[in-house]
Symmetry: C2
């Protein structure tokens, strides 16, 4: 079995190496990750400049590469014939920080899983709901279990999984929940500041806001100490609005 | 009425100025766009460095700014109190090049419309299905008409529109089609090359492949010389797979 692991926290992130280590018993594990952090890079890909692969030494002699691109690039390159051809499964993570609700839009971790789905490869993204992670153990173990499951069960074309693991000791975890993407958003505050030379600059920030509770939402699962597994698809067509649009009076050509 | 226009081709792109010019009759038009091209930047946002706004002079004295960020940043900043508060509508484009099917994932143009939807602002992305555009006229006119329509009809929360305009003379256009996101993909070829110093580098490339026809797909509309308007949503939960996952035998905790 051939697995490709990647992330958006970069090649030096301990979550990547924890993931790689957990999956090594399954067979050949190729790791390709950005040379530095690419948090919030979304589904960016590199079309307009050359990509370079930089081999990284690891004690077990395995195949690990840094790249001057984005997580989605890692999947495109990692699935190419130049690195031995298509993997059976792509796993992206282990991300430090949640990817719940609207986070899925901004996340490079999730983008890598989405890119795999575009390429027709089974995949999941996995994140820990904390910004200061000391123990990747439970998340790494679950990644192994889910990767094994993806050998047995097939993901439908154009779908992938988004996993969030609560940051609680193993003994406090209450199992796995299959969930919907929640409607959490951020309030998008922008701070205006002045630099030492008197120039104005802006920081994007914002606090999480929950827009009403939903049945079986990702955020409720992790708040309840359960591992959240959200199935996602590529097709974003809004069918109800499609029907409504037909009633619009659009004068064109005028 | 207040409109925010942006794009991913950058502040100097003629499509942005054509769009801005077309919408000026509607009221106040604020333009904020990346300082340079950001094609294929997906839904990247700038969280880890300061954003700077650079005023751009235009003959009519209007408010135009370049920013050192991504299209989604333009929406976040353009909707903030620092620039006068939330616009009524966000329009992103006019992009040179199609945003059909899977292009929606990679496109910064579409990401700007999606970011507006996240912020609760009506929005659409508009693209011309050609890479060498001489006449932005028909697309700009349609943008005006659709922006007017968005004053009359309300987009449901969490939705936005993706517009693709065929690159044919106005007389050959056959009206508007409300469409579904097609399943077109790219075959993701990676070219390995050698630089003048003997180093290896890679280019991402690929040809479009159609994965079977769909009723009312975006690509079929533009191939038939119709303007394609695809309604899209933010929620990517795959309900069928959610039901199937409950049958999976996931041994965790082991």
């Amino acid at each position: 079995m051939r697995v490709l692991v990647t992330n958006d926290d970069g090649i030096r992130a301990p979550g990547l190496m924890a993931l790689r280590g957990a999956l090594l018993p399954l067979g050949e594990v190729l790791a390709i990750a950005p040379e530095g952090p690419r948090s919030a890079c979304g589904h960016a890909i590199t079309l307009h400049k050359p990509l370079r692969l930089m081999p990284v030494d690891v004690p077990d002699g395995g195949r690990v590469f840094a790249i001057n691109g984005f997580p989605a690039d890692c999947v495109a390159l990692g699935a190419s014939e130049h690195l031995g051809g298509r993997p059976d499964i792509v796993v992206s993570g282990i991300n430090v920080g949640p990817n719940l609700g609207v986070d899925m839009v901004y996340s490079g971790t999730v983008a890598a899983a989405r890119e795999a789905a575009i390429c027709g490869i089974s995949s999941f993204a996995i994140s820990i709901v904390a910004y200061d992670v000391l123990d990747f153990g439970p998340a790494a173990e679950f990644a192994l279990e889910l990767t094994r499951a993806l050998c047995t069960y097939e993901l439908p074309t154009g779908t992938y999984l988004n996993v969030n693991v609560p940051a609680v000791p193993r003994a406090e975890m209450k199992g796995v929940a299959f969930t919907r993407q929640s409607r959490i958003r951020y309030d998008n505050r922008i701070e205006r500041r002045t630099d030492p030379r008197g120039g104005t600059y802006y920081w994007l920030t914002g606090d999480r806001i929950d827009r009403g509770s939903q049945p079986e939402a990702d955020v409720e699962a992790v708040d309840g100490n359960r591992i959240s597994v959200t199935p996602a698809h590529l097709d974003v067509t809004e069918e109800k609005l499609l029907a409504a649009l037909r009633g619009w009076d659009l004068k064109w050509p005028a």
